[in-house]
Amino acid sequence: MLTANNALRREDNVVDIRDYVAGQENKGLLRFLTCGSVDDGKSTLIGRLLYDTKLIFEDQLATLERDSRKHGTAGDGIDFALLVDGLEAEREQGITIDVAYRFFATPKRKFIVADTPGHEQYTRNMATGASTADLAIVLVDARQGILPQTRRHSMIASLLGIRHIVLAVNKIDLVEFDRSVFERIAGEYRDFAADLGFDTIQPVPISARHGDNIIDPSPNTPWYDGPSLIAHLETVDVDARVEDRPFRFPVQYVSRPDLDFRGFSGTVASGRVALGDEVTIAKSGRRSRVKRLVAHGGDLAEAVEGQAVTVVLEDEVELSRGNMLVGPEARPHVADQFSANLVWFDDKPLLPGRAYILRTETDEVSATVSQLKHRRNINNFAQEAATSLELNEVGHCHFSLQAPIAFDAFADNRATGAFILIDRLTNATVGAGMILRPLRRAANIHWQALDVTPQSRAAIKHQKPAVLWFTGLSGSGKSTIASLLEKKLHAAGRHTYVLDGDNVRHGLNRDLGFSDEDRVENIRRVAETAKLMADAGLIVLVSFISPFRAERRMARELINDGAFVEIFVDTPFDECARRDPKGLYAKALKGEIQNFTGVDSPYEPPERADIHIPTVGRAPEELVDDVEAWLKERGYC
C-alpha cells in the first residue's frame, strides 16, 4: 500500500488502473504464521509489520491509541498486539487465544499471516494456522532462549509440512543487542531442529516493538549481515517441487442439472489435466478420458493445481464424492489400513479401539486407531510408549478404516495425505492426521465371495438373528435376566449363545484390565464376536456393563441394521451396592478395587435404549416376560 500511495497519486495519474491491478495480480502470495511461546511477541510483531507496511488505516490507528491506553502493556507507546488480539477475552487477559488472519503486501509479494497463540492449551489453534502456511516465523525472547513451546511449535510445524523457518530472536534490544546471545540461540535451535526436515532456517535478530531489522537492517546490530525480516519474506522460495506432481482430483460434488449433463466438480489437488487426457478412477481402477473441462464463461483446455473446475468424462462411470480422478501412471494408495502421525486436540484422550469419523478433503469413513505405536516427547522428540494420547500430544498410530480410502503420503501431497478425526457424539474435531504409508496387510486379505450367506444360515434355523445387548451397572441383574431369557428362547427352539464377562474375560480378553483403553478394546472384541455369531444365524445375548455410549454405538453400527437391540437394565447405584452379589461394591467402596464402574469409573446410561427395564420392585421373571414380549412383537421369537 505504501507503494500504491506513492505510485498512484490520483492527481499524478501516472498509472493506468487496469495495468496497476494486473501488476498486483502477478505478485506471488506467501502464507505464513507466527508462533512460539507466550510473551515472545508474536502479536506485537504482526502489528509492527502492518504498521511498517502502512496497512493500518487512520481510524484503526485512533482506535489502537485509545485501546493502548486502556489495555496496553507498552507504557505510553502503542501496543501493537492490540491490533490483532481481536477478542474481548484476549484483550482483557493480554494473551492470544485463537488464530487471527491478517493481510499485507509489499511491492514484491502479498502476505496472509496467521497470528497463533503461544499457550500450550491453545495448541490446536496454532495447528489451525500452521495447516495452511508455507513458512513459520518462530519467535524466541532473547532473554528466555528456547522454551518447551518453541520446541512443540517447531515440531508441529514440521509435522504439518512446513519446510521454511524464520527464527526471530526478538527483544534483542533488551539484551543490549548482544551478538553472542543471538548466536547461542541460533546455534541451539539449529541443533535441535536438525531432525525436523526443514529446508531453510533463517535466524534474524529483531525488536518487534522498536522495529529493528524488520524492514531495514538495524544500525544497532552492525554484526548481523543477513536479510531484514521483510527482505527474507519477500524472497524466500517456498514453491519447490510443486510442478510435475501426479494429477489428483478429489471429487467434491456431482453436478447433474439435467439428464444430459453429468459433471464432477472439485479442486485440482496437484498436477494438471487437459482435454482428452486419460484419467483413472482411484478406487475402482476404471479408466476414461476427459471430454470437457467446464467453467463459467467457457470451457477450459486444461486445469492446473489449485483450480476449481467441473470435469465431464467420455464414459458413464461409477464416480462420486470421496473418490478421486487421478493420472493413469502414478496412482494413489487405496487401502483401509495405514500408519499416520496424529496430533490430538481434545480434552478427552484418544482411545485406541474407539470409533471416530475420519475425514479427508472429500471422503468420510468410520475409523479406529488399531495400534498406538508411540508418543513423541516434545522436548527431545524421543519415541515413548503410550496407551493413549492426551490433549496436544503427538503420536504415531496405525489406523483401521471401515472402508478403503484413496490417499497419498502426506510428505508427497499435503492435500491428499491429510485427515481430521471427529468425535461421533459431540461432532468436535478431535485430531489431525498426516498419513505416512499404507499397511499392506489390508491389501492381502480379500473378502471371500461367500455363497452361503447370513440370510441362508438364518433361514435354515428358522429364526431372525439378533444381538441382544444388555447394559447396566455391575449387579444390576443383566446376567440373571439374560440367562433366564436364553432358557426360554432355547425351550422355544431358538439357537442362542450368551456372551458375558465371565466367559469372555477368562478367555478371549484375558489380557485386558479395567482402564478406559482396555474397556474400549474389551467391548470392541465382544462386538466383533457377537457380529460373527449373528452372521452365523444365532441370537446372541451380550451381558456386559459396557459403560460408554461411544462403544455401544460402535457395536450398533458394526452389527447389521435392525439386528442390534440395546437393553438397559436400569438398577440404581445404591440398589446395586445393596445387592452386591459378588461382594465387589464393598471392596470398591473401600478402595480395594480400582476403576470400578459407578465408583471411580463413569457409567453413561443409554439415551434411547430399545428396551428400558427398571428393575426395582420387580421379579426377574416379570422382566424377562417384558423383553420376550418386545421380541415377539418384532418376530425374533
Partner: protein, 301 residues
C-alpha cells in the same frame, strides 16, 4: 507451458471449493444476501461454482426496512435477471413496535431488525448452513473467525472454543438445531473485492459510484436523506454533495464519503490511496469496544 494462477484466481477457487463443500454436505443451506458489493461478489461466485446448474440453495435477504431504496430496487432487478430463489424476511414484531434507528439507537435497531430477524428467518426455514460475505480484513473479531463457523442451537458463537480448521478439510457435522455460518470470502481483502469486481464486471448498487446526493452532517458522519422518514435535527441542513458509499447498510447508519469516482477504475484508484478503513462508515461498529464480537455472539453475521 502451465498456467500460472493469479492471486485472484486462487481466491476464487477457494471460494468455489467452499460453496461446493456446503452443497455436498448440508441438507438445507441458504445464502445471506445483503445487496452490498461483497454480496454481489459472493453471488457471482455461487453462480460460477455450480455452473451450468443454478446454485442449489435459496438467497435470503433480511430486510430491516431501513435499507437505501436503490438497494431494494437493485436486489429485485438481480433476482429477476439471474433467476435465483429470493426469500425476504422482515421482523414484523419490530415493525409493529416501530423500532427505528432514530428513536431506539443503532444498537437496539440492529439487534431487533437484523440479529433477531436473522435468527427468526433461520429458525423458520430450518437452515443448517448459511453463507455470509464477511471478510477477515474487515474487523478484529472477524479476523479470528473460522471459514466454517459453528453456531449453537441458539445461534450463538463461542469465540473461545472454535473447532480447529485444518487444511481444506472442513468439519461440516452438526446436531439437529445447530448450524454453521460459512464465509467463502474470509481471505479476501477490500482491495481484492474491488479488483475482482473490475475484472469480472460484476454489477453493483449505483450508490457505490459518486453522484450528487442530498446529505446532512451528523455525528461526524455524512448521512444521506434517502426518504421522508429522515428527521432533521435543529441546525441540520440538507445539501447536495458529490458523495459515494464504501460500504452499505441501513441508510441512517451508513456514512458517505466525498468522492468524484464515477467509474470502477476510479473507485479502485481511490481505494488504493484510502487512509481510513471501510468500516469507519458503519456507526454500529463504533458503539462500544468489542462491539462486533458481542453482536456475533448474539447471532449477528
Amino acid at each position: 507451458m502451465p498456467l500460472a494462477l493469479t492471486h485472484l484466481d486462487r481466491l476464487e477457487a477457494e471460494a468455489i471449493h467452499i460453496f461446493r463443500e456446503v452443497a455436498a454436505t448440508f441438507s438445507n443451506p441458504v445464502m445471506l444476501y445483503s445487496i452490498g458489493k461483497d454480496s454481489s461478489v459472493l453471488m457471482h461466485l455461487a453462480m460460477k461454482a455450480f455452473y451450468p446448474a443454478k446454485p442449489p440453495f435459496p438467497f435470503l435477504h433480511v430486510d430491516t426496512t431501513w435499507k437505501f431504496r436503490e438497494m431494494i430496487a437493485f436486489r429485485d432487478r438481480m433476482a429477476e435477471h439471474l433467476g435465483f430463489d429470493l426469500l425476504v424476511h422482515i421482523n414484523e414484531e419490530g415493525v409493529r413496535d416501530g423500532i427505528n434507528p432514530f428513536d431506539h439507537g443503532s444498537n437496539t435497531h440492529t439487534h431487533v431488525m437484523k440479529t433477531l430477524a436473522l435468527r427468526q428467518a433461520l429458525d423458520k426455514y430450518g437452515f443448517d448452513a448459511a453463507f455470509g460475505g464477511a471478510r477477515r480484513d474487515e474487523e478484529k473479531a472477524r479476523a479470528k473467525e473460522r471459514i466454517f463457523s459453528f453456531r449453537s442451537a441458539g445461534h450463538g458463537w463461542d469465540p473461545k472454543n472454535q473447532r480447529p480448521e485444518m487444511w481444506k478439510i472442513y468439519n461440516t457435522r452438526v446436531a439437529p438445531g445447530e448450524s454453521i455460518r460459512v464465509f467463502p470470502l474470509s481471505n479476501w481483502t477490500e482491495q481484492d473485492i474491488w479488483q475482482y469486481i473490475l475484472q469480472e464486471e460484476i454489477p453493483i448498487v449505483p450508490l457505490y459510484f459518486a453522484k450528487k446526493r442530498p446529505v446532512v452532517d451528523r455525528g461526524g458522519m455524512t448521512i444521506m436523506v434517502d426518504d421522508e422518514r429522515m428527521r432533521l435535527q435543529p441546525g441540520e441542513k440538507v445539501e447536495e454533495r458529490m458523495v459515494r458509499f464504501r460500504t452499505l447498510g441501513c441508510y441512517p447508519l451508513t456514512g458517505a464519503i466525498p468522492s468524484a469516482a464515477t467509474t470502477l477504475e476510479e473507485i479502485v484508484g481511490e481505494m488504493l490511496t484510502a487512509r481510513t478503513s471501510e468500516r469507519q462508515g458503519r456507526l454500529i461498529d463504533r458503539d462500544e469496544a468489542g462491539s462486533m464480537e458481542k453482536k456475533k455472539r448474539e447471532g449477528y453475521f
